[in-house]
């Protein structure tokens, strides 16, 4: 896990002062991507921070859950931050930005409304890149145990004796 409260050796104030804003939701600095409030930061090792921030935004636009914070989307895609995957991601994000530019935006992150980004994604949804990212998210996002409570899902139950005394038939509104 490379997510950390702040980049090693930098205070939160220093981190924010050195970072430049990219898009609405993430702060991109030299070699890292951070939450606007610096609640977390991810230090990229192979993917350019701007590219990674776009990838995270793309992940959220594919499977938007407004109650799931960015950290979980970062966790879902950080596996691509490897020497092997980075070139393909860079190429895919470049194509995504090109599709945005064809619609008059400076970049994918330059868009305002989600619907504009969805239109851009629809235009590339048959590409191998889109399908790789989407397919990876199905397990990368939804198999994170930390997101299950956001959906109300309770996960493992054997160790608690199942639900026989914990509400298996507690529906009260029928």
């Amino acid at each position: 896990m490379t997510l950390q409260p702040a980049i090693r050796g930098l205070t939160r104030r220093q981190l924010l002062s050195r970072a430049s804003a990219a898009g609405a939701s993430l702060v991109v600095g030299a070699g890292f991507v951070a939450a606007p409030d610096a609640a977390w930061a991810y230090e990229t090792s192979h993917i350019a921070p701007e590219t990674f921030a776009t990838l995270v935004r793309m992940a959220r636009d594919i499977y938007p859950h407004d109650r799931i914070p960015d950290t979980h989307y970062v966790i879902a895609v950080k596996g691509y931050d490897s020497a092997e995957s980075a070139p393909g991601i860079a190429e895919g994000i470049a194509a995504l930005d090109a599709a945005a530019q064809a619609r008059g935006f400076a970049s994918y992150l330059d868009t305002g409304w989600e619907r504009d980004r969805v239109d851009i994604l629809r235009s590339i949804e048959d590409s191998a890149f889109f399908q790789q990212v989407r397919g990876g998210l199905v397990t990368g996002l939804y198999n994170q145990k930390a997101v299950w409570p956001i959906f109300g899902y309770e996960g493992e139950s054997y160790s608690r004796g199942g639900y026989i005394e914990r509400g298996f038939n507690d529906i009260d509104w029928l």
């Binding site: 949804e125 199905v138 939804y142 198999n143 959906f151 639900y163 507690d170 529906i171 029928l174």
Partner: protein
């Protein structure tokens, strides 16, 4: 004490596969004093090993060896390398099954006679019927401890069921209850009662659901007549110049090719692996594969008409709590061509956890139409639709010479096109499923496409005439007297019901036949 037999011992019965067919057959033969070597491709996992985690369990238990797909079924697009969701382990898919234990309806043994010829379908009557199967079903229900048989109480209904039942009754359905389940409502046969844990598909950690892994297999081993060889992957069945099978070549756990001699070979590797093995066993004498003079090996693959309906409500349901398949509506299981199709279907509650719901609700979908459904997960109910599909000559398992498994053997290609009858039935079932939930105030419904198949049937079908199928009324191949098929691949037609109880009943009956013929020296 589990037995250990020599590779050169040609007095043993070799069974390939240890699931509902092979596992039960192995125990039943061992109980009668017949010596058995069971070859199981997977490892041994018991309740203490099972995990309440969908993907982790899938990695532990599922058959993940390569397979390929073709045809117009959506599984070929969404899960092209995974046509089936079945288990590779001692006990086979009895680890994963939901536990629904239904007898065929009488007319379903006579599909051709009852439905008449259906264009594009390859219907046939079974060579056996309800009266003949009755006593074997009795034995199977006792073995499995099926609820609502033999004075065993039904299971209590969970939230998913209570809502489903309310909707069913509002629609006027009358055959609605918590099912005939091989899940203990009270302690039975030394196994615990159901603790409403959920995760029935991941292996029951209480042992409340019947599985051959911890019932028939250890009991067979305890006789001293059964040796289960784990991680032994059957490669080829060999035969002599007289055309009788002589044993099975298999890869052992270390990848070494071994040859186990046999007096009789019984194939029970499921509807993909069983025909694949027969086809991979082609020889100069049997160039089209063993037991295949009819050309029927691999054909008439059936997977049941399936689909699901999920629905969201404005109040919580928490469908994942408790038995996964917690109840049934059987009103639509009848044959009533007035609905626009032959045969019928069952509606059975079903729940998936968030990880599998994300994978299966609408494979490939993205965006808010999809994610708002998952956001309402806690408010969601679900049912599975399962009905009789049409056997078709062209729905078949063939060898894919271009793709090899880890042993260098050609893999199975599974080709499936929906028959118009399957599509008409699915659309009817979607409408009725939606109506059940709308009757209790559903705010949105989801007609969910079929999952990778768990009910894999046909491909070595049973027939009266040798030209129409692969095996006779005993599951004995028409061509080779000491070669049997003992799994769901021998199904002539699929009926509407979940198949395990019938596979078990056929295995008990086949064991009785084989033991009798062996004693009479006719086998």
């Amino acid at each position: 004490m589990a037995a250990s037999f020599e590779l050169t011992d040609d007095s043993v019965v070799v069974i390939i596969g240890t699931g509902a067919g092979g596992g039960v057959l192995a125990n039943e033969l061992a109980q009668k004093g017949v010596r058995v070597v069971a070859l199981e491709a997977g490892g041994r996992y018991l309740p203490e090993d099972y995990v309440n985690d969908e993907w982790e369990s899938f990695g532990q238990l599922a058959w993940l060896d390569p397979r390929t797909t073709s045809g117009d079924w959506r599984v070929a697009k969404d899960f092209s390398g995974l046509p089936a969701w079945i288990v590779k382990a001692v006990g086979g898919t009895t680890t994963h099954w939901a536990g629904a234990s239904l007898r065929f309806q009488d007319h379903e043994w006579k599909a051709l006679t009852t439905y008449g010829a259906v264009e594009g379908a390859n219907l046939l009557d079974w060579p056996i019927d309800a009266a003949e199967m009755d006593p074997w079903y009795d034995l199977a229900e006792k073995k499995l401890g099926v609820t609502r048989t033999n004075g065993i109480a039904g299971l209590p209904g969970n939230n998913n069921y209570l809502l489903f039942e309310r909707g069913a009754k509002a629609l006027g359905y009358t055959q609605v209850h918590t099912g005939r389940m091989a899940i203990n409502s009270a302690e039975y046969d030394g196994r615990s009662f159901c603790h409403q844990t959920g995760f029935c598909f991941q292996g029951c950690k209480w042992g409340a659901k019947w599985s051959a892994a911890y019932t028939d297999i250890p009991r067979g081993e305890a006789t001293g007549n059964l040796e289960v060889r784990e991680r032994a992957h059957a490669a080829r069945i060999l035969h002599d110049d007289a055309g009788k099978v002589t044993g099975v070549e298999y890869f052992d756990r270390d990848g070494n090719l071994q040859f186990q001699r046999a007096r009789i070979v019984c194939v029970a590797g499921n509807s993909f692996e069983s025909p694949r093995l027969l086809l991979n066993s082609a020889s100069a004498m049997f160039p089209d594969g063993l037991a295949n003079s009819s050309g029927q090996v691999g054909r008439n693959y059936m997977r049941h008409m399936t689909g699901s309906v999920y629905a969201t409500f404005d109040k919580p349901v928490r469908m994942w709590r408790g038995t996964t398949m917690a109840g049934i509506i059987s009103d639509e299981a009848r044959h009533d061509p007035g609905r626009g199709f032959v045969g019928g279907y069952e509606m059975e509650t079903l729940a998936l956890g968030i990880p599998f719901m994300a994978a299966f609700l609408d494979p490939g979908a993205w965006g808010r139409e999809f994610t708002t459904a998952l956001d309402a997960y806690e408010y969601m109910a679900g049912m599975w639709l399962v009905g009789e599909d049409m056997p078709q000559d062209t729905n078949r398992v063939t060898l894919n010479a271009d793709v090899k498994d880890q042993w260098g053997l050609p893999v199975a290609n599974v080709h499936f096109d929906d028959h118009p009858n399957d599509i008409a039935m699915r659309n009817h079932a979607y409408r009725q499923g939606r109506a059940v939930y709308e009757a209790v105030g559903a705010t949105r419904t989801f007609p969910t496409p079929p999952y990778p198949s768990t009910h894999n049937l046909g491909t070595n079908r049973m027939s009266e005439r040798p030209g129409d199928g692969v095996v006779n009324r005993w599951g004995q191949s028409h061509d080779i007297p000491n070669l049997f098929v003992s799994d769901g691949s021998q199904f002539t037609t699929g009926a509407a019901e979940n198949p395990t109880l019938t596979i078990v009943a056929l295995a008990i009956r086949q064991a009785d036949h084989i033991a009798r013929e062996m004693a009479a020296q006719t086998l």
